[in-house]
């Protein structure tokens, strides 16, 4: 038997790179767009659809659009007339608010922006921020409404994005605590309180906001005594708050139900009374449970403020509609609505993103 002189050392083959079709962009396309005949078919349909839609859309929106100039330049162009938005920006933002007092809503807007920035960056103590948020509507109301040394501006001249944000902000700030109270009341063992809360929540949730707004606008003057009549805007704001509170209450109730009974029993065993127990133990957990739906309700409330146009207030959407009816700028409805949609979208999408970020931050991992 012959023995190999020197056993050859095992040498693996040099590793090959993965086939070109499985890695890189080609691999990605094959895995995500053309895996199977059905997906390939769908991809082709989608590409064809985009091919038909995108070029005319882009040329209308950007390439053929008029960015500067006046209505004459717009009439000559085939694209969108964005200069119309520029000329009407004041109407969009503050409606018929007097031009001489324009610095006041601007100051309120700057304050709001600073407050939002401070909140999203989490500057300062959180109780301090809550107090600032509660003070802000009062300050903004003073700025915009006037009084003391500022000349008064009648509320019939409030409008535009300012009005939409104002209605939504006050609506949210008031309806969240009111909703919590209603939700607690609904879970109360005192039958009179419980039936009162159910009697408020369920009918409101069963009807559209428009009927509530009609009620606030048309029916409330009939309910109030002659010497106690309030203006239409405040009535509409009350309607919005009532409507939103009922929905908030249901959201909060879902959160309350998810708090384990043991928590309540432990709090009672520690000798906390009803309000302390709810404030320190139950409500923080309940709100954390339902934060996504709570943010969802806030977004819905902001979108819903667009309905006030039906009872005669000139909110952001109403201002867009009015701006498009100016006889110097006829036929630019598309631009007005696209701009309006863009702003609504940015605000709502921003709110939902912020909601998701606090949701991720406050989730407790047990």
């Amino acid at each position: 038997m012959q023995k190999p002189a020197a056993r050859e050392k095992f040498k693996p083959l040099a590793s090959e790179p993965a086939p070109i079709g499985l890695i890189g962009p080609i691999g990605w396309v094959r895995a995500n767009l053309f895996n199977g005949w059905f997906n390939s078919f769908l991809t082709i349909i989608c590409v064809a659809f985009l091919g038909v839609i995108i070029p005319p859309f882009c040329s209308w929106m950007f390439f053929d659009a008029v960015w500067f100039g006046d209505s004459e330049t717009c009439r000559a162009a085939s694209g969108a007339c964005w200069t119309f938005i520029g000329h009407k920006l004041q109407v969009f933002l503050i409606g018929p608010y007097p031009t001489s007092e324009i610095w006041r809503p601007a100051a309120a807007a700057v304050l709001l922006a600073a407050l939002i920035l401070a909140t999203t960056l989490r500057l300062g103590n959180k109780y301090f921020l809550v107090i600032l948020w509660l003070l802000y509507p009062c300050a903004a109301y003073f700025l915009i409404n006037g009084g003391w040394f500022l000349p008064r501006v009648d509320q019939s001249r409030w409008g535009g994005l300012m009005l939409s944000i104002g209605l939504a902000l006050v609506g949210i700030l008031v309806s969240v605590p009111l909703g919590i109270l209603l939700a607690l009341g609904r879970r109360s063992r005192i039958i009179a309180v419980k039936s009162l809360c159910v009697g408020i929540i369920e009918p409101i949730r069963g009807v559209p906001l428009i009927t509530i707004l009609f009620m606030a606008s048309v029916m409330m003057p009939l309910f109030l005594p002659e010497h106690l009549q309030i203006n239409n805007m405040l009535r509409v704001q009350i309607g919005i708050i009532l409507f939103s509170s009922a929905y908030m209450a249901e959201v909060v109730r879902g959160g309350l139900q998810a708090v384990p009974r043991g928590q309540i029993e432990a709090a009672t065993a520690l000798g906390l009374n009803y309000w302390k127990m709810n404030y320190l133990v139950v409500i923080p957990q309940a709100l954390r449970n339902v934060l996504p739906s709570l943010i969802g309700r806030c977004i819905a409330l902001f979108k819903d403020t667009s309905l006030v146009i039906i009872v005669g207030l000139l909110d952001f959407l109403g201002a867009a509609k009015a701006a498009a009816q100016d006889s110097n700028w006829l036929g630019y409805d598309a631009e007005a609505y696209v701009f309006c949609a863009l702003i609504y979208w940015v605000i709502c999408f921003g709110m939902s993103r912020y909601g998701r970020s606090i949701e991720a931050r406050t989730t407790v991992h047990h």
Binding site: L42, V207, I210, T211, F223
Partner: protein, 378 residues
């Protein structure tokens, strides 16, 4: 003892406060109504209305009463809600499935659709559809004519109106009959499968029944249906089935908006199903169509149905936005009545009653469905 007393005290206090507030409101209302010379009660319902209503499902004349006009509005609300629920469900399920598709482009497009529609007010979508999209269609003389008998212009969509003969009802009966037969067969098949482990080819039998029985009836009862086409006369079309722009805009807006929400429910439902379930099914050799039908869907529906119930009820409530674009639904007609005779309390009361009733029915049906798909736990 002290607690019981406190409890009783609060009860009495709340009841007293409610009674006092109601009484004050009632007094105020009485005084205000008297001061403004508004008669209360529903007597006005039998007065001739003089309201023009363009879209009505039943024959209507302005000389009819307020009550009948309001009833036409209620019918329109019901009609829009019902059609909207079906259409929104169909589109929503489609988009929701597209959202979880393994095809990147399809799922991105679906996400873009959902995020745009959900973050813009419905009223804006409605205005955009009504004022920009539908109004930019050509005028009647230059109508788009994609298929024979279908005309699209800025006055509406004109479709051929079906004129049913006696045979039509025979065919309808045949369709219903074949559904009944399919139901019985699936019952038999289920029992057989429970006993022997192998059922009948239900899908094949069902499909062939559904095709064969109605078409046979169609052939036997020859003149089934005729179509009346819209004809251009003067400046506009006459005859045919007309979908006016107000109706179309309302339907398009409502359906697209609600579909975005339903799509999200479908997506979260499908994503809530544990991945292990699908893998286990694959490991057991279950076909992929059967995996979808018997494993993913039943579990996904459990998550999707409660949220979708809410979306259905909001669709019904959102149909009231018809008032903004002038489709004569209940709110629109009622609003006009309030404008004419100030009977706000009665009309708003009626609105509330009808919406509550519709939503109770929708919730009842959906709760029944929900109870069927929930897991029965011991």
């Amino acid at each position: 003892m002290q607690r019981k007393f406190l409890n009783l005290f609060i009860q009495a206090g709340v009841a007293g406060a409610v009674a006092f507030v109601s009484w004050t409101l009632f007094q105020n209302t009485q005084a205000n109504l008297e001061a403004r010379n508004i008669a209360s009660g529903f007597d006005f319902m039998s007065v001739e209305s003089g309201l023009p209503i363009n879209d009505s499902l039943l024959p209507y004349e302005p000389s009819d009463t307020y009550g009948y006009a309001f009833f036409i509005g209620v019918l329109n609300t019901l009609y829009v809600s019902l059609l909207g629920i079906f259409a929104a469900t169909a589109i929503g399920v489609l988009i929701g499935c597209a959202r979880v598709s393994s095809n990147w482009l399809v799922s991105r497009l679906a996400a873009v659709y959902v995020e745009i529609l959900r973050n813009v007010p419905l009223l804006l979508t409605l205005f955009f559809t009504y004022v920009v999209v539908l109004a930019s269609l050509p005028h009647p003389r230059a109508s788009l004519n994609p298929f024979t008998g279908i005309f699209i212009n800025n006055r509406g969509f004109y479709l051929p109106a079906p004129v049913p003969y006696a045979g039509f009802w025979c065919v309808t009966a045949a369709v219903l009959l074949s559904f009944l037969m399919i139901f019985i067969i699936s019952r038999v098949s289920k029992r057989k499968r429970d006993e022997t482990g192998k059922g009948l080819p239900t899908l094949m039998i069902g499909a062939s029944l559904l095709v064969a029985v109605p078409s046979l009836t169609w052939i036997l009862s020859a003149p089934v249906v005729d179509f009346e086409f819209a004809v251009l006369k003067g400046f506009n079309f006459r005859g045919g089935l007309v979908l006016r722009p107000e109706f179309s805009a309302l339907m398009i807006g409502l359906v697209l908006y609600t579909a975005a929400f339903i799509a999200e429910n479908v997506r979260s439902g499908i994503q809530s199903v544990n991945k292990g379930q699908v893998e286990a099914a694959k490991a057991l050799g279950v076909k992929s169509s059967l995996t979808m039908r018997r494993i993913i869907l039943p579990q996904a529906l459990r998550v999707s149905i409660p949220a979708t119930t809410n979306d259905y009820t909001s669709l019904v409530k959102n149909s009231s936005l018809a008032v903004a674009i002038g489709y004569p639904d209940m709110v629109s007609v009622g609003g006009t009545i309030i404008g004419q005779n100030d009977q706000a309390i009665e009309i708003i009361g009626l609105w509330m009653a009808v919406y509550l009733a519709i939503n109770l029915v929708v919730s009842a049906i959906m709760n029944w469905l929900n109870a069927k798909v929930q897991v029965v736990e011991r």
